[in-house]
Symmetry: C2
Subunit: 482 residues, 2 copies
């Protein structure tokens, strides 16, 4: 029996023949979706691909892998933006795909909680909550593909963090399979539980390197009775930050989303996705010369309360010349158009050409200075490059992408500068007390930068924890820590 055959046999003994696949040179594309990352930057090989049916099978697969020393790459929807979910090119790693763990185990409406398995897509979780008249607020553009296990493993963010927090804050408890092939659970849906170390929070955001999340209990929320959305134009980022502060005072937790878009981001959507901008209310599409801010306000009281309170905030801001213009969506169609503008930016960017992407975060009080300095520095170094900046301003988290000069928009010429661009952006971020990864995580892409970014004592603590929980470096090796 060749090595491949014995690998197949060992895994098939756990999950059944049809749920194990080996790489087959004759069918080079069959496993490719699992070996290549979402952005197309990483493509690896695997020893085998295995899809257990439930937690007990995950336990047994991990035991087989541990016994044989086969490293495991846990995979959900494979939507990582930092290469966190695909195997490396050694061909020695097992892709453990969670795609069959899709049960909604319990929806406890009086407790406002739901227990789901890791392979449920985010949209499936949202839909299960909606059917019970409740809401699961995590909101990502990749909701139809990404899985809740991956959302938790990466502590996903998205557009409603301002109100509801990241995936970590939405999670009441986990079920985790350890590197030893044991399992622990904390799925009771408790709001408070101070019984020992925060294993839940440690697992969340550990990107599959400390344990394999197989199920989670999540917080649900009552459906708001009213929802109002506005598109606002501000002169610059500093004004948008001031508006944010005012909006928090006036709307408190009703302020659900506060998304910002720099002029160049809007121009790209206008250029490449004209249908999106033409669907906007006339006043909003008349031409934004400043920054645009998309504000979403919900109310537990009524639609009128949501709209009136938001309109009053914007009227005050207009009267004070803090903003230049504002439109409140008058229909679901207009609301959808505003979100389409915001969510169209990444596609418009890709259409425009290649870029060097960043996912940075800063204190609100430093954003405007940092942005001005960094854009100047980039302009000095690469006069034809164009910064495209947009994102979750309410959380101080911006996607800060340096688009190649028009002449190098396609092809690989600008890629040569990637490291240099990163260095410039990240050094400026650090100088202003920011983070090099606000929501995307570390994966492979930011592994070297992580060591530059955090205190040596913090890196040492992380390495000690990794060795303690996964002494044979079995779980997603080479991600987060090199």
């Amino acid at each position: 029996m060749g090595h491949g055959a014995s690998v197949h046999a060992a895994l098939a003994a756990v999950v059944g023949d049809q749920h194990v696949r080996l790489p087959d040179p004759a069918q080079s594309d069959a496993l490719r979706p699992y070996l290549r990352d979402w952005r197309g930057r990483y493509e690896g090989r695997c020893l085998a691909w295995v899809q257990p049916a439930n937690t007990a099978e995950v336990v047994d697969v991990v035991r087989v892998c541990a016994t044989n020393g086969w490293p495991i790459v846990p995979q959900g929807g494979n939507t990582s933006l930092v290469g966190g979910a695909v195997p490396d090119d050694s061909g020695t790693q097992i892709v453990l795909h969670l795609g069959r763990l899709t049960h909604v185990r319990v929806l406890d409406a009086p407790n406002l909680s739901i227990t789901v398995e890791a392979g449920c897509t985010l949209d499936a979780v949202r839909e299960a909550a909606r059917k019970a008249g409740l809401m699961f607020p995590l909101s990502l553009a990749s909701g139809g593909s990404c899985t809740i296990g991956g959302n938790l493993a990466t502590n996903a963010g998205g557009t409603q963090v301002l109100r509801y927090g990241t995936a970590r804050e939405l999670c009441l408890g986990l079920e985790v399979v350890t590197a030893q092939g044991d399992c622990w659970q904390q799925l009771q849906g408790l709001r408070k539980d101070n019984t020992g170390y925060a294993l839940r929070d440690l697992m969340i955001g550990s990107e599959g390197t400390l344990g394999i999340i197989t199920a989670a209990t999540l917080r649900l929320f009552p459906m708001p009775r009213g929802e109002a959305t506005a598109l606002v134009s501000c002169r610059g980022l500093a004004e948008a930050v001031t508006l944010l502060h005012r909006a928090r005072q006036a709307l408190d937790a009703g302020l659900v989303a506060f998304e910002a878009m720099a002029p160049r981001a809007l121009a790209l959507v206008q250029a490449h996705l004209p249908a999106v901008t033409s669907a906007l209310p006339a006043a909003a599409s008349a031409g934004h010369h400043g920054w645009a801010v998309l504000i979403e306000h919900t109310s537990p009281h009524s639609q009128a309360h949501a709209g009136d309170t938001l309109a009053a905030l914007l009227a005050d801001a207009l009267a004070d010349s803090l903003i230049d213009d504002a439109v409140v969506a008058q229909s679901e169609r207009q609301r959808a158009a505003m979100w389409a503008l915001r969510e169209g930016i990444p596609l418009a960017e890709r259409t425009e050409g290649i870029m060097v992407k960043h996912d940075i975060g800063l204190p609100a009080s430093r954003l405007a200075d940092w942005s001005a300095e960094t854009e100047q520095a980039i302009g000095r170094q690469w006069p034809q490059a164009r910064v495209v900046c947009f994102g979750h301003l309410g959380d101080g988290n911006l996607h800060y992408n340096v688009q190649a000069p028009p002449a190098q928009a396609h092809g690989d010429a600008f890629r040569a500068f990637e490291q240099e661009v990163n260095r410039l952006v990240f050094d400026a971020v650090r100088a202003h007390g920011g983070t090099i990864s606000a929501e995307h995580g570390i994966g492979v892409l930011r592994r070297e930068e992580l060591v530059r970014h955090r205190d040596p004592a913090a890196i040492a603590a992380m390495r000690a924890i990794k060795r303690a929980l996964d002494p044979h470096n079995l779980l997603n090796p080479g991600r987060v820590l090199g």
Copy 2:
């Protein structure tokens, strides 16, 4: 030089002579406040007591202790309810008191954050925020004594968790001195930061066993424009839980506190603190035969909005016979009286006599069944014992105290049953998917129970983490894990 003198010299070399004290048999009371816990259940001895001035001195004290193998008990306000902050009786441990680390380092109003040192009292942090027109919402009865370092080390809860979360959710970042005498920081005040493992969340709630928190950056919130408080009477716990669900739908994040008090808790306050009940609005003090619920609602809009919305909720609940009675406070004096009722319960209990205390949490959906079953079981076993139940119903977290039979109210007779009472209560809690410590932590008091309560794989993970970060068991040994 005797051992005591050499200990003194080594520590004084770091912090100066006057900030080290040795136990002195001739002055037996001088160190006693630091050696005896808040509830008077634990009294230990120490090798020395040391009070460093700042983080750099904490680092050096830890290095001296590590070199000499002296275990360290970090201490803030010494208000632990589980014996987590006093040394054991070996006389080998150093009490490292954080009481001189009291600076407010930065208050960044536009970023809604504040950076404070660990020895600041909770009230001092709240006051610093208030002076800037902002709010730090952590709210504990011991606010004048407890320190923010202790609040974070124990992941403190309190009366506003329902809206604002526990100490963990209020913390944006920490400064921590490790068992190796190194220091890491993450004090930039970032809303989102996915750069590696969640060391912050791991330290929070680790009760000084994984690192010493020396400073923290905390979230602040805009001051609400309106606040309304009501005292409501419900037939039983099940009705109170239904009211909670309705209140969450109607008030959403405006629902700041939802505190419940069983009839016997109210009766104790009436008996022992008559001034408190006489200050209540007439309708509220007319005699509660059922459970009382204290509801606090805040509004970012106005006082009228806070009051009207709460009144509308209660009118609906009355119309549906879900509640028997409700009074909305009409003055700050009435509001204070309502809170005095709730906060008077522990004192009334102590006046009544000895009890066996628990701090349990359950899913909202299981509270009523669990409570009925447990009270029956206690009645069968100890017919004269009386359950006094009250607390943070909005979080599913109740203080569940079994008061000794009247004949044994004073003296130690009932103490003999403590373990048996605990076993009965905790087994019932587990059977209903609850926790044995919702907010007080583990300390020494729940150390044995923790091992019974959590999965062996979770306990193994905790032990591995402890060994990894503190291999010589230097930090608060014997707390959390035995």
